[in-house]
């Protein structure tokens, strides 16, 4: 636990997402004494996912607070602290636990600025891990991005590599709203989940930089089909694009990067060019991000689609434990390749 892949040293460092995110947190905490971290196992342990390693030692137990397993309670407390001038960072290791504290998030933290007519700000950042692929079963493998994205008042970012992890964390911490920084466990660079996806590591500048909300990122340009994803599905899409390239198909890979707000113009621009769309998401399909992306085309200009768009997502089942069944439920490069070919064949 709390181990991670080693980073290459030097000024042009290749970092894991875990380190890059942490670097942003530490930089902001050094500047602003009002920032503090609160959550389960964030102090002594340094976070189940290593998000807060070293912070208790540097900032003390007053600013890095281990809590009881009382998510409703400590999110409520963090919200109150934010209303009174602090800038809390709350860690929820697994998004699966959101159900025990969802009220305090969407009915209070997300709405207080609005309900108070702007009198109270809630500059609160949540760090949340999500996703499966390591057989952690139905209650520890969910994404639930759709759940969070459906309720107003929250900004949600989902970086796909270390560069974005740092830049988006700075943006979240400087924003005066409830922001959620979510990373898929399999790309975080956690030792205990291996370092399988190397594309999530990146060269990260030492200096601070902020990546604006609502700007998608084109990882790879292409002309035949647009592959939209975020977080881990960006990497699946990149692999799929490689495989497609080998067959002479040119795929563009678009990373949403921020889910709320979503860069709908970028989606439209890419699909207008390629005429074909595959959206890959590990989250449940129904009323999720894949639906929102497809709806965007349908309401802005369905004519740009030369063929039906394809969604590659969890087929609305609890995430099964056993490997063959879990793999069935998860998106991967092959499924994206198949989807791309299907939409290229159709018309």
């Amino acid at each position: 636990m709390a181990q991670e892949a080693p980073s290459t040293g030097g000024s042009s460092r290749t970092l894991t997402m875990a380190r890059a995110g942490r670097e942003a947190v530490i930089a902001e905490m050094r500047k602003d004494p009002n920032i503090f971290v609160i959550g389960e196992d964030v102090a002594k342990l340094g976070g189940v996912f290593g998000t807060t390693v070293g912070m208790a030692a540097e900032f003390g137990a007053e600013r890095v607070i281990d809590t009881p397993i009382s998510e409703t309670g400590f999110i409520g407390i963090a919200t109150g602290a934010a209303m009174a001038g602090m800038r809390p960072i709350v860690e929820i290791a697994f998004v699966d636990f959101i159900g025990v504290c969802f009220n305090q998030i969407f009915n209070f933290a997300a709405k207080t600025h609005y309900m108070s007519g702007g009198q109270f700000k809630v500059p609160l950042t949540m760090m949340i891990g999500y996703g499966g692929g390591y057989n952690d079963a139905a209650q520890h493998s969910q994404c639930l991005i759709g759940t969070l994205a459906h309720v107003p008042g929250i900004r949600i970012v989902t970086p796909a590599d270390a560069y974005d992890a740092k830049g988006l964390m700075h943006t979240c911490l400087r924003d005066d709203n409830l922001t959620i920084w979510m990373v898929h466990k399999a790309i975080w660079g956690l030792g205990w989940l291996g370092t399988a996806i190397k594309t999530a590591m990146a060269t990260v500048p030492e200096e601070e930089y902020a990546i604006p909300f609502g700007q998608a990122r084109i990882w790879r340009e292409g002309t035949d089909v647009t592959l939209v994803g975020y977080g881990i599905t960006v990497h699946h899409s990149l692999q799929a694009a490689e495989k497609l390239a080998a067959e002479g198909i040119s795929a563009e890979v678009l990373d949403l990067r921020t889910i709320v707000p979503m860069d709908r113009d970028a989606i439209m621009k890419s699909v207008a060019k390629t005429g074909r769309l595959v959206v890959a998401d590990e989250d449940y399909m129904n009323c999720g991000v894949t639906a929102e992306v497809l709806a965007t085309i349908a309401e802005r200009n369905p004519k740009i689609l030369k063929a039906p768009a394809v969604r590659v997502a969890n087929p609305d089942i609890p995430v099964p434990f056993s490997r063959p069944m879990e793999n069935f439920a998860l998106p991967d490069a092959d499924k994206i390749v198949a989807a791309a070919k299907a939409t290229l064949k159709a018309s």
Partner: protein, 325 residues
């Protein structure tokens, strides 16, 4: 600690203000809702949970609070807001959904916020517990003076948030007072039907003081609140202060409270005339002073209502503002 005469007069004044405010809203609420009741009609639409009878719980506690302190209330907030000194005109305007309201009409009567006096509300049961304790935590972290008080109904004590927050507030010795207004009902369900052990006794489960104040009496509440507030100010952590009070009306306007017996309702006492008589009997103020005080309060409430009625409604598209800071 007993209230000074000045404090007692303030308590009476604040209770009366709350009462006259609620009286005025009660009247306005029915405008546009007769002959057929429709909650969404008239100048005061939506649910309306009023404070008739519960005024003592507000003044007895808030009498001890200063500008550094913070107060959170729930779905029945008028008396607490007024005792806390929320701007009455802007509060009235908010309840009427006007642009000049505290939140420009976005909040309404269950969502009164006034940053000038660190006052907030919420309409979900026990949802204010965490934010209340969180303000207390901020004061402690920022090494600033000030405590936080969260008001809850008796129905709130069986909600998970109550438990989680009390444990952490006690663990971290936060300057926090959890007030429970025991009006014996959560809508139609009595305290006995819902709560196997009263909240103030559960304080033992959080290693903090718990006290029950009987009689719906501002003076007694004042004394008990003094202990809880001092405890918080001295850095000794939270307390649970449970206060016996009375809900003189239904749960909200429109609830005829048919689930209460006639005898029970007939036995209810309005705390305001009782306190008025006591102040006069004990010569805390003269009859003439009382008359002036009452006239002033009435004038203030009338002015607030007039301000609210005279104010403009927000433009429809203002709905889009303030979602994000």
């Amino acid at each position: 600690m007993k209230p000074t005469p000045k404090q007692r007069i303030w308590m009476y004044e604040s209770m009366l203000k709350s009462r006259l405010f609620d009286d005025a809203l009660f009247e306005a609420y029915w405008e546009g809702k007769k002959p057929v009741f429709h909650m969404g009609k008239g100048p005061l639409p939506g649910e309306m949970h009023q404070s008739f009878g519960q005024e003592p719980t507000a003044v007895g506690v808030c009498a001890h609070l200063g500008p550094d302190d913070a107060v959170g209330a729930g779905h029945r907030p008028h008396h607490v807001a007024i005792a806390r000194g929320v701007n009455l005109k802007r509060m009235a305007a908010e309840v009427f959904g006007k642009k000049t309201g505290l939140s420009g009409g976005r909040g309404g009567h269950m969502h009164l916020y006034d940053n000038n006096v660190n006052f907030f509300c919420s309409g979900i049961i026990a949802e204010g517990m965490g934010p209340g304790a969180g303000i207390a935590l901020a004061r402690k972290m920022q090494k600033k003076p000030g405590i936080a008080v969260a008001y809850n109904g008796d129905g709130a004590v069986n909600q998970g948030a109550f438990h989680e927050v009390m444990n952490m507030a006690a663990l971290w010795k936060l300057p926090f007072v959890c007030v429970i207004e025991d009006n014996n009902y959560a809508v139609s369900v009595t305290t006995k039907e819902s709560t196997v052990v009263p909240a103030w006794k559960r304080a033992a489960g959080y290693d903090c003081p718990g006290e029950y104040v009987k009689g719906n009496d501002p003076d007694l509440i004042f004394e008990a609140a003094a202990r809880a507030v001092q405890h918080a100010r001295e850095g000794k952590g939270p307390s649970i202060l449970e206060i016996e009070t009375e809900r003189l009306h239904g749960h909200f306007i429109g609830d005829s409270a048919g689930y209460r017996s006639k005898d029970e309702v007939a036995g209810q006492k309005d705390p305001i005339p009782v306190y008025r008589k006591r102040l006069l009997d004990e010569k805390a103020l003269t009859a003439a002073d009382m008359e002036t005080l009452e006239a002033n309060v009435k004038e203030e409430v009338d002015a607030a209502l007039k301000f609210a009625r005279d104010s403009e409604y927000p433009a429809p598209t203002e709905a889009l503002d303030r979602v994000y800071a």
